[in-house]
């Protein structure tokens, strides 16, 4: 069954990718969807077996790279952490498959699209099912590729190609971090397998080794490299720039890859590597710092974006920040819990956004839609549910994980904890503001679009509706159902899959924190919603006037709207410099310049002149000939001198003199 779980999506990919012509595009799509749904069923069974009855499973398939000390196998290994990921991945994936059948139905390349989705699912499964870092790396790079293919699915659009390339290149920066971590594992532990590495990690805690000629702590070094890897995939600050651009892909892709599954791979790796991170306080500090900054930065940027999908993308980025700083505070289970909850409501938001875009002729600028609540009540209700879950409205899904994260950070009693808490709380305020801003501008406010858009506006068709309903239910209830299972004090669910250094266990403190402090996030959330309603809904004129006349505020607004100028800095200081170097310096100056002159061009240039001068010696005049006879005779007579060093020197100087005389 585990093998089926793993291979069904691959089968779907093969069939719909290679034989799409035989089955027709709808047929291929149905086959692939059926395969993924089967895989989904299997993963529920796996969740029951592994998670609820605590029987981890490991299957070793066949060897991959076995050289020297490295022994890696293609394998399937399911423990609690993996089981949670499996359920999330396959559920969201099968719903997105169903959604896409209808959403992409007019595209001639539907079969290709579905096959890419299945390929992605397969690669993501191979990432979470790995029992060694090498196979994880396979899935890791593979999902990057799948994301490239899916973002650039509408390949005739230049923006899509640019976004896809950007995504894979920036991901690759993170991948280098992960690859280096792998090399460190091989160097230090002589293995890439989780079991070996995790059981030995405590033995090398606080030992040092030479990395790039610097003496560094082994586990800190590995941890930082893993963090770089995780930042690339999970779009943490610095390596996040690809995620907002990735919305250029079709909306189901954004829902599946850039909200629910692929971007959470970084959080998964952090949770998976907990036995390493736990022995390095420095790394944990970095992780929480990076996460907190990301949450804050992305939330501020999300405030002023005008593209419907971009707002949701920044919100994803911000929520990923929450997950990462939860991991940094050693609350891996919490991070993973938020991950699974987030998957549901964020997929719901993206798919809902897809409904809007579908309904009104592909318009996704928030300033040019509005008043849709009356035309699309079904979509509106789902987006409302998703948004409420996102902002952490009490007793919806987001509440149980997001508020728990803030509570735990409060009860950490460290500078980092406090920092994370306040960054998190302020981000919650912003989250609530932009979520309600989206609702107001899109659904409640004055209709700003073209009349024809509204005339032809239609509610979601059957398949789309079918796939939204489970997500909506999930956004309402998952948190409530799973809270005690995942987070309850002393829950046996996680078993060995997550390791927390006993000192850092802070569940009791979190439970006993003062109630008033626990209610701060809720207060901030309500405040954000209120601000949003009063400024965007009731008094938009005042807001715009303020924006227009206040110089300071406008600079600030532009800064946020330009996404903190990250893209500009990267483009101008890195990309341009590299491209300049590649052409002007390495190609023009070195290759076609210096090396060419020293090589072929120089030879062509020098030798004709040289040979001309040698020709001039062959003048045919008698006295020239006599002169050379005398030189030759002298040379022969002196030849014994060769064997002594003085004579050699003498001859060379005579030779030089002759050469100078002649030329």
């Amino acid at each position: 069954m585990y093998l089926c779980l793993f291979l069904f999506p691959f089968f779907g990919f093969l069939v719909s990718g290679s034989f799409g012509r035989l089955f027709g595009k709808q047929g291929a799509a149905f086959i692939a969807t059926f395969c993924v749904c089967c895989s989904c069923l299997c993963s529920f069974v796996a969740f029951y077996e592994v998670g609820l009855t605590s029987c981890p499973v490991t299957l070793s398939l066949f060897p991959w790279i076995c050289v020297d000390v490295v022994e890696s196998f293609w394998s399937i290994s399911v423990d609690s952490l993996t089981a949670v990921m499996l359920v999330v991945i396959t559920t969201i994936s099968s719903l997105v498959h169903v959604y896409s059948i209808s959403y992409i139905k007019d595209d001639p390349f539907l079969a290709r699209f579905i096959s890419y989705l299945s390929l992605f699912t397969f690669l993501m499964l191979s990432l979470v099912l790995a029992d060694n870092y090498l196979q994880l790396f396979f899935g890791w790079e593979g999902v990057g590729l799948a994301s490239f293919l899916l973002i650039s699915f509408w390949s005739s659009r230049l923006q899509a190609c640019k976004a896809a390339t950007k995504a894979i290149i920036i991901n690759r920066v993170g991948d280098v971090g992960l690859a280096l971590a792998l090399f460190c594992f091989i160097l230090i532990f002589g293995s890439v397998e989780y079991s070996t590495i995790f059981s030995c990690s405590s033995k090398v805690a606080f030992c040092t080794f030479l990395f790039c000629q610097f003496k560094v702590d082994i586990l800190s070094c590995i941890g930082v490299l893993l963090l770089i890897g995780a930042s690339g995939k999970s779009a943490q600050i610095g390596l996040h720039t690809w995620l907002p651009d990735a919305i250029e892909g079709p909306t189901p892709v954004s829902a599946l890859i850039h909200a629910a599954t692929m971007v959470t791979a970084g959080v998964f790796v952090l949770a998976r590597s907990s036995p390493i991170l736990e022995f390095s306080p420095v790394v944990l500090f970095f992780v929480s710092l990076v996460g907190a900054f990301t949450a804050f930065f992305a939330a501020t940027t999300g405030l002023v974006q005008n593209d419907l999908k971009r707002v949701i993308a920044y919100s994803t980025c911000s929520q990923l920040g929450y997950m990462v700083f939860a991991s940094g505070l050693s609350q891996y289970a919490l991070g993973v819990f938020h991950l699974s909850n987030h998957a549901f409501f964020k997929a719901l938001l993206f798919l809902g956004a897809g409904c809007i875009i579908h309904a009104i002729k592909d318009e996704q600028d928030l300033r040019r839609i509005g008043g849709l609540a009356y035309l699309l009540p079904f979509t509106y209700s789902f987006i409302l549910v998703g948004s409420l879950a996102l902002v952490g409205f009490p007793f919806l899904t987001g509440f149980y994980s997001k508020d728990a994260i803030l509570e735990f950070s409060l009860s950490n009693f460290s500078v980092t904890g406090g920092l994370c808490h306040w960054f998190g709380v302020i981000s919650a305020l912003f989250t609530s503001f932009y979520s309600f801003r989206l609702l107001v501008l899109g659904f409640l406010g004055y209709p700003n679009g073209f009349k024809s858009f509204y005339k032809n506006c239609h509610e979601a068709p059957l398949f789309i509706a079918v796939s939204l309903i489970p997500l909506g239910l999930g956004s309402l209830f998952i948190g409530f159902f799973c809270r005690e299972l995942f987070l309850g004090a002393g829950t046996p669910f996680w078993a060995n899959s997550i390791f927390i250094y006993p000192v850092r266990e802070s569940i009791i403190e979190a439970e006993c924190a003062p109630v008033i402090l626990k209610q701060i996030p809720l207060f901030f959330t309500v405040m954000g919603a209120a601000v949003s309603f009063s400024f965007i809904y009731h008094n938009p004129i005042i807001t715009y006037r303020f924006l227009f006349f206040n110089q300071m505020f406008r600079v600030f607004y532009t800064f946020l709207n330009q996404r903190w100028l990250f893209d500009r800095v990267y483009n101008e200081s890195f990309a341009k410099a590299f491209l300049f170097f590649g052409h002007a310096i390495s190609f023009r100056i070195v290759d076609k310049g210096a090396l060419e002159i020293l090589g072929p061009f120089g030879i062509v240039f020098i030798f004709p002149g040289l040979s001309k001068q040698l020709i001039s010696l062959q003048s045919g005049r008698v006295y020239h000939n006599v002169l050379f006879i005398v030189y030759g005779l002298g040379f022969l007579l002196c030849s014994p001198l060769f064997y002594s060093s003085n004579g050699c020197f003498f001859l060379i100087s005579v030779g030089c003199w002759i050469v100078f005389r002649v030329f």
Partner: protein
């Protein structure tokens, strides 16, 4: 007659029969194809039949060249040379297929030079005599020189052919001198004798440098690489394929077979130099590739970057690095021919190699785009392809011995993604350019069957490299034992 002799002689005999028997043109092509193809199963059988655990040469044949002088030429196979022989026998028929319809002038000569090249290459990988190796190493230049000079695409081809010849010859002069010095000391060119003999350290330093120059130009390392982009751009598709697939690998093979075991102290002494040059190659070539507008030139520069990784692995001084370099040699020997064949497919149709004339081919040539995408991602070393296995092992081998070099080299991973996908996006994505309206034709059957085995091998080595790797262990461990 042993298998090995058939393997070497069959292409020669076929080429001879092409010259003397009067076939029609179509028959000639078929005869040449079969002549090039027959050695493939033989070489595969020879490879599979090798004894994994035996570190000595296998299938040995000895010829006494000058009776009475005790000088024998030894031919044989071991785990290191067998895969390269198979790769040669595999790529040569592909090259003949690549020129199936395009070559119109001098068909006989074209086919003959392919068969000669195949025979010479098989011989160069099977010989275990340094002098014969040197002679054959040089002799492979002749067919490729002719091929570029006659069947190249533009007038600049003459310049390119000269450059190829002169550069290689320049390095070989030093190698020849080194050979004389070796003979003066040892008195034999036999591999077994050479391995057993000791050179003084000063002499090793000198010999290493001259070998390094010869192999470094062939492979090519960075300051002496100029001939490669020129030759690739001007050569016909088949020429580029064999150049990237096999001829470059001669340098790597030379390093592994001769330099490492013979000059072990010098290798230790020069390792930092080689690492520096390789790093330079990786970074420099990666950045240069980003701005090429000629597709073939882009692939040529990317080859230089990959070769940098190979040399990094060869000089890493541990088994992982050595195995990695061999796998990467094989992987690159499959992937870059694939890319050159892709470009050949485009050139056959549209007669231009400039990137800016292409765009949006995914819409009109989906099968081609899929194949091109596959080779692009294999070129950037995505896990699951042969290149990844090689690169990963090279890097991790290098990381064991010199981790700063490995860290710097890893940055090549980023730029390789950039240039491979940049090229792919420009050609296959975007809007359709007018050039695609000249002729809309996806891969035909001949082309499909050219690509299919390449794709299969790339995936096979990428997912299940064990059969390849396990054969490499013993010979490489011996080299390691002797060398480091």
């Amino acid at each position: 007659m042993s298998w090995l002799e058939i393997l070497i002689l069959f292409p020669f005999i076929t080429s001879f029969s092409l010259l003397i028997i009067s076939f029609t043109e179509a028959q000639k092509k078929l005869v040449a194809l079969w002549g090039a193809l027959v050695p493939l199963p033989i070489s595969l059988f020879a490879w599979v039949g090798l004894d994994h655990a035996n570190f000595q040469l296998q299938n040995i044949i000895c010829y006494s060249v000058l009776p009475g002088t005790n000088s024998e030429v030894v031919l044989g196979l071991d785990g290191l040379s067998a895969p390269l022989v198979s790769l040669t026998c595999f790529l040569c028929p592909l090259c003949i297929l690549a020129g199936w319809q395009v070559i119109r002038v001098g068909v006989t000569e074209y086919l003959v030079s392919w068969l000669l090249l195949e025979g010479l290459l098989v011989a160069v990988f099977t010989t275990f005599d340094l002098l014969v190796f040197y002679i054959l190493f040089e002799a492979t230049l002749i067919p490729i020189f002719v091929m570029i000079g006659i069947w190249g695409s533009r007038l600049r081809k003459v310049k390119a052919a000269y450059q190829l010849f002169l550069y290689t010859l320049f390095g070989s002069v030093f190698m020849l001198l080194a050979l004389l010095l070796i003979f003066a000391q040892v008195g034999s060119f036999d591999y077994g004798v050479l391995i057993a003999s000791n050179f003084s350290i000063e002499r090793q330093l000198l010999l290493f440098l001259s070998f390094f120059l010869a192999f470094g130009i062939k492979i090519p390392m960075v300051p002496i690489h100029l001939w490669l982009p020129e030759a690739h751009v001007e050569a016909p598709t088949g020429g580029s394929v064999i150049l990237a697939g096999i001829l470059l690998k001669l340098g790597g093979y030379g390093f592994l077979r001769y330099t490492l075991p013979l000059f072990s102290e010098a290798v230790l002494f020069y390792t930092p130099l080689v690492h520096t040059v390789s790093l330079l190659g990786i970074l420099y070539a990666s950045f240069t590739t980003l701005r090429q507008i000629d597709m073939k030139k882009a692939i040529a520069y990317s080859s230089i970057a990959h070769i940098g990784v190979v040399t990094l692995g060869i000089f890493s001084g541990n088994l992982m690095g050595l195995v990695g370099s061999c796998v990467l040699i094989l992987g690159h020997g499959v992937v870059s021919p694939g890319l050159f064949l892709c470009i050949g497919v485009l050139y056959d149709r549209y007669k231009t190699r400039l990137v800016r004339y292409y765009g949006g081919l995914a819409q009109v040539m989906p099968l081609f785009s899929a194949v091109f995408l596959f080779f692009s991602i294999a070129n950037l070393g995505l896990p699951g392809t042969a290149n990844f296995v090689g690169e990963f092992l090279c890097f991790s081998g290098c990381f064991q011995s010199n981790n700063s070099a490995a860290v710097l080299a890893c940055s090549g991973m980023i730029s390789s993604a950039a240039y491979s996908l940049w090229l792919f996006c420009r050609i296959s994505f975007g809007t359709l350019k007018t050039v695609s309206f000249l002729q809309v034709a996806d891969l035909n059957r001949r082309e499909f069957f050219m690509f299919a085995p390449l794709v299969f091998i790339t995936l096979w080595v990428g997912f299940y490299p064990k059969p390849v790797i396990s054969l490499l262990f013993v010979p490489l461990s011996c080299i390691l034992e002797l060398g480091f």
